[in-house]
């Protein structure tokens, strides 16, 4: 069973059972896959001015379409209600955001090699961000749109009573939320 994260002399420590670590690694992989799929549409057209290709900048004529997958939209949201501002922002910064997220998710996977986790503040911050991205994707799959939805899912705590795959996903969501919550408490106490 998972043990809550604590802040102590050696850093931020916690422990996760082998099955829990395997599950989290798979969840991180799923989010990486979703982001990599999105990154494929970033490939620039072949007939593009080679100067643009050199800088990696997208020309104004190559705006990115909004993500069709709602989970991707939660990970890479619009930057403005003004469509023109949002399109420009997405065109110029989305590739960097995807790279940053994938790098944090990969680092989070590497932190799960051992049962006992000993994290520096910066590792714990990165781990919390990766867990948050997992929760954003799971929340979309569970159709959590309101506080009421989120409370309904929070009721699912007893694995013995779970019968559907949606309920199982709800249990997984609650485990990830719990891990992130205890990590945040440890980080907060490290700030003082």
């Amino acid at each position: 069973m998972a043990k809550a994260f604590k802040n102590g002399a050696r850093g931020i420590t916690g422990s996760l059972a082998s099955a829990e670590r395997k599950l989290l690694r798979e969840l991180f992989s799923d989010v990486i896959t979703v982001l990599e799929e999105r990154a494929q549409i970033h490939e620039l057209p072949e007939d593009l001015d080679p100067l643009y290709a050199l800088t990696g900048m997208r020309p104004e004529s190559a705006n990115l379409p909004e993500p069709s997958d709602a989970a991707v939209k939660r990970l890479l949201p619009d930057a403005s209600d003004d469509q023109e501002v949002a399109d420009e922002f997405r065109r110029l910064t989305e590739a960097d955001l995807i790279t940053e997220k994938i790098s944090l998710l990969r680092r989070a996977q590497l932190l799960l090699e051992t049962e006992k986790l000993v994290l520096s503040v910066s590792e714990a911050q990165g781990f919390a961000r990766a867990l948050n991205d997992v929760r954003l994707v799971l929340a979309e799959r569970l159709n959590i749109q309101s506080e009421a939805d989120s409370e309904r899912i929070a009721q699912l705590v007893d694995a013995a009573k779970v019968t559907t795959s949606e309920e199982y996903l709800g249990l997984v969501y609650n485990l990830v939320s719990w891990v992130q919550d205890t990590l945040m408490q440890a980080l907060m106490s490290a700030e003082r």
Binding site: R74, L75, L76, P77, D78, A79, S80, D81, D82, V85, F89, T93, D96, L97, E100, K101, Q125, A128, R129, N132, D133, R135, L136, A139, I144, Q145, S146, E147, D149, S150, S177, Q180, D181, M184, Q185, L187, M188, E191
Partner: protein, 97 residues
């Protein structure tokens, strides 16, 4: 000895400020996923707000549905929005009317 006086007010009349000079606002929106302690921690660690100020802004997001966290130049707010999206928070930018 010459007495130093305040610099004359050279900031142009607000009415003549062009649209492109108007400040931009960073808005963080509520969502049912992000944990309250996570949002508050992001506000503390990224903006350098005190725990009290961060909690206050986080509660405003939670209760009112959104909160204007700060305002500044377009470049500064763009970089804030990018950072907030990196943390997984739903953030947008808007120019002051």
């Amino acid at each position: 000895m010459e007495i130093m006086t305040a610099m004359p007010d050279v900031i142009s009349n607000p009415e003549t400020v062009k649209a492109q000079d108007k400040a931009w606002r960073l808005i963080v929106w509520n969502d049912p996923v992000n944990l309250m302690n996570y949002v508050s921690y992001v506000f503390q660690s990224y903006f350098g707000f005190t725990r009290e100020r961060a909690d206050q802004l986080m509660l405003q997001v939670h209760n009112d549905g959104f909160c204007v966290v700060r305002s500044g130049s377009r470049e500064a707010i763009e970089s804030d929005v990018h950072a907030m999206h990196g943390f997984g928070l739903q953030a947008t930018m808007t120019q002051e009317a």
